[in-house]
Subunit: 362 residues, 2 copies
């Protein structure tokens, strides 16, 4: 898989008139490295030239990089030497000279690092944008398979957790049950900290889950996802009502509006549709029912190796392989809120829902 991606990148280098591209991890920001090489550690620089590919990493990762990134030649960082020395070593092995045009990822390299690199790296450094991301924004069959499986497991976790939503249980306890089950069924971690927002807290789209106890009849927004095999993420939101008391009639009304907005947006989704149009379908639906001001965030985002996967939202309409969240919400301060989120993959003539967990029926 990664060798095919590597070849696509090498072809793109020629188009962009680059002799090489440097791709660097920074703490959790390691997805471009993972995507291209298969290396899943936290410290590496890839040096990709039009013909060759190197992975520069330190002794903690020598054996692992060899196993995970077989298409990349390992360049071992020696203690006391700089990473840039080894980048130069790789460039020299690829027979690139000082006049070579070497790109770095402007969206990922901090200003301070670029400054050091421009002094130390023996090449003409140039800021590049979206060289790897242009590939990541359309998922191939293998990636969709992994995302489908991630969503399947995530929906199973949802099914297991719904019966645990009871009056007296805390938000944190529910989040714990979600997180344990994600891990138990195969996630290596959470794609973001799970949100469990109950009662008035449900009016905060990104509430910090806390020790509040659930009360009968009130809404509970559960927004969570896992990082699964290959690094692929799921992201689902469901809103439920705590059993023991009938939900407020207006809450039921809001629930129906949000669900129908979610469905309307999904139905409108197909290749060629823009993100703005997709957002507008749900926003208009909610607006026509008088709740425009309470839908305070965007309708969705690209999903992949991170929960908010890179995508050129302005310039790239949906196409086959776009994976997008569809998550309208209505939030009323002091009253509560509802959000319903699905992960969708764009197909040749529409969109398929990957998160098949059930909705509520009134």
């Amino acid at each position: 898989m990664s060798s095919k991606r590597l070849k696509s990148l090498q072809l793109a280098l020629a188009k962009q008139r680059l002799d090489a591209l440097l791709i660097r991890t920074f703490e959790g920001d390691n997805q471009n490295v993972l995507y291209l090489s298969g290396f899943s550690g936290t410290t590496a620089v890839l040096v990709v030239t039009r013909k060759k590919a190197f992975i520069v990493t330190d002794a903690r990762y020598f054996l692992r990089a060899g196993k995970e990134a077989p298409d990349f030649q390992l360049v071992k960082v020696q203690r006391g030497k700089k990473v840039s020395d080894h980048v130069n070593e790789a460039l020299a092995m690829a027979k690139l000279t000082k006049s070579a045009k070497v790109g770095f990822e402007a969206a990922h390299i901090p200003v301070a690092v670029a400054k050091v690199w421009s002094k130390e790296i023996k090449a003409k450094l140039t800021a590049s944008l979206n060289v790897v991301e242009q590939f990541r924004q359309y998922k191939d069959a293998g990636e969709i398979k992994l995302l489908r499986e991630a969503c399947r497991i995530t929906c199973r976790v949802y099914d297991e957790v719904v019966p645990l939503v009871k009056a007296g249980v805390t938000e944190n306890e529910i989040a714990f049950e979600i997180d344990m089950r994600l891990r138990k069924h195969g996630a290596v971690g959470n794609s973001f900290p799970s949100i469990v927002a109950s009662g008035p807290n449900s009016a905060m789209p990104h509430h910090a889950t806390g020790d509040r106890k659930l009360k009968a009849g009130e809404p509970v927004i559960m927004d969570f996802g896992g990082i699964f095999r290959g690094g692929y993420c799921s992201d689902i939101t469901r809103t439920v009502f705590v059993p023991g008391k009938e939900p407020h009639p207006r809450m039921k009304e809001i629930y129906k509006i949000v669900l129908d907005a979610n469905k309307a947006a999904r139905k409108a989704l197909k290749p060629g549709v823009t993100w703005r149009q997709f957002d507008k379908v749900a926003r208009d639906y909610i607006g026509e029912r008088g709740y425009a001001e309470y839908f305070t965030h965007g309708l969705g985002h690209s999903l992949g190796l991170v929960a908010h996967d890179p995508y050129d939202y302005e310039h790239c309409p949906f196409d086959v392989g776009t994976v997008v969240t569809d998550e309208p919400g209505i939030y009323i301060d002091g009253f509560g809120g509802v959000r319903i989120e699905d992960d969708l993959v764009v197909t040749t003539n529409g969109a398929e829902r990957l998160t098949t967990a059930p909705y509520l029926k009134f």
Copy 2:
């Protein structure tokens, strides 16, 4: 707490001849924002002037930012407007004009963002380094209390997990038990993906935990930590041997060398000692016993709001409040390895061990 930090920063601005500093989150890189403001969400820009402080965030976080960051005036991002428009709004409220010198964090702001900001923000933008980090590298009493508690819970998890290390259990199963218990006892997440490296895998300092089954007599390196209250991280490593068979005599020898190197370094630690000297104590100890080439990484790192907390290692010796990991290791490819890691806080005349989990005795 955060209001004291904010004041220290505002004094530092005057010293650095800055009229303001912009501090921005980027995905998981939100610790400077958290440290200064208390806001724990993933999307915000702080605009700190010598007299005022603003938090720019979007509707997902309006209510939460108000609660978590009471010392900061909330500037609401409006849909369709740019974050930089709102940064300008904050600068205008602070009566700063185009000629104001406004710093941005060069270690955290990607080149692409700096480029956009330099066009859109109405001020003289200037790259700054370590303005917030200079404070973060020495922990105050409140932070040490949180770190002590984080380490106490982490050691409890270790105690609970040791009896589960048995032949036939997989690395992933052990990691699952660790992670569940961290969460159960109060962690909001892992400070990094838990490492469980068994048998030959223990020769990889940063092994990717997998489905390998443990075998009697072989070493198991467990390296893990949680993110606890206030965002503070623990980080511990212990090496144990799978019961049912006596460990290889050379493994026992290696264990003793690594443990004594760990202790020697701890005893040498006090204010004024440099990181290089600290590292040398353990490295010399291991080197004198013939294992120099097998201790392939640095001795330790600063610990705090992230597992690898920022620290100016070259220029700032240890001082009261430095929190550091002490983690020598010996790794022999094809045979196995041992690492023993403690978290230490530097005191007026020495260092205190925060991770009091027991070592093995032979």
